[in-house]
Symmetry: C3
Subunit: 139 residues, 3 copies
Amino acid sequence: MNSERLTRINVETSSRSQLIDITREVRKAVASSGVSGGSCLLFVPHTTAGVTINENADPDVTADITAFLNKKIPLSDPGFRHSEGNSDAHIKSTLTGTSLDVIISEGDLLLGTWQGIYFCEYDGPRSRKLYIKIRPDSG
Amino acid sequence: MNSERLTRINVETSSRSQLIDITREVRKAVASSGVSGGSCLLFVPHTTAGVTINENADPDVTADITAFLNKKIPLSDPGFRHSEGNSDAHIKSTLTGTSLDVIISEGDLLLGTWQGIYFCEYDGPRSRKLYIKIRPDSG
Amino acid sequence: MNSERLTRINVETSSRSQLIDITREVRKAVASSGVSGGSCLLFVPHTTAGVTINENADPDVTADITAFLNKKIPLSDPGFRHSEGNSDAHIKSTLTGTSLDVIISEGDLLLGTWQGIYFCEYDGPRSRKLYIKIRPDSG
């Protein structure tokens, strides 16, 4: 890890809309940093994707989230003018958000029992990346 | 306050959908930290709740927000498969977000005149918690 | 720049709904800070505006975002009670978010190729402001 404590992970997505659990990868970055207290800033450098926290137990939850967003924000809308035809994905990206800051406490992510961290693919399948920046407490 | 400058507050909610003003509690945590410049990271460790900033003056605003979200993201939808029956709350949580970073300047939250910080309950009533991590400037 | 490394920029908006590219202003604040590694916290002190990251190339994307949000979250709704008549803008503000934390690496914003930072006006035209807080790595 460099002095900026910045790492990058790759995320391969397999369908157009998909929430992919990346909790393990983020946790691994925190563990290997040796940082005990601080936070972990996640950043998605794409405009048709996002990052969120939601339920880690029943996969029906993330399936319901993507299905509902697809129904309400459909691929085609008579008002869309963007020539690439993926305006729905850009809208979902803005509504979900592209960054997230998770607290690190006692050397681990401070997540609730049912929380997992998800990379949100809205215009896949693609090869994506996500930055993880570990920020130790300044003391 | 411990070396991680991390505190936890409890939020008791009284209805299924509700925005609860927690500005005073957050401000209190900032004041008691003695930190003059930095930021204040708020984190909700739940998957059917969130945290947001919105108008602090007219309570009709937060009522309009929850009523509109309930109309557009209803409790029941023919597409929902999650057996707990609260997929609407999970969707609202992802759209609202579960963390927020507020600037601390001159020992206080740097909020706009009309801004208040709200805990967003989407599947209450429940006993909830929220983490507050004070981050002083590193100098 | 003061010891809190906090600056404020003004944003003049010209229509009710509008996404305004502020990437250059944010980049300038980062450059003039001399900070090489860290992050840049953006904060909107308004309750009918927001800040987001989205496509910087084709202006049809931001036009599609605002047009779609206006269609789904209209100015008038039979359920709205807030007397100022701008509840739609408050809802859009909560869904977009009022803060954003962007990584600084090698002295510049770590954005994806197609990413730009946008001030989101939902109840203009108005004179708005946005805070930029540069946070260097704590070392």
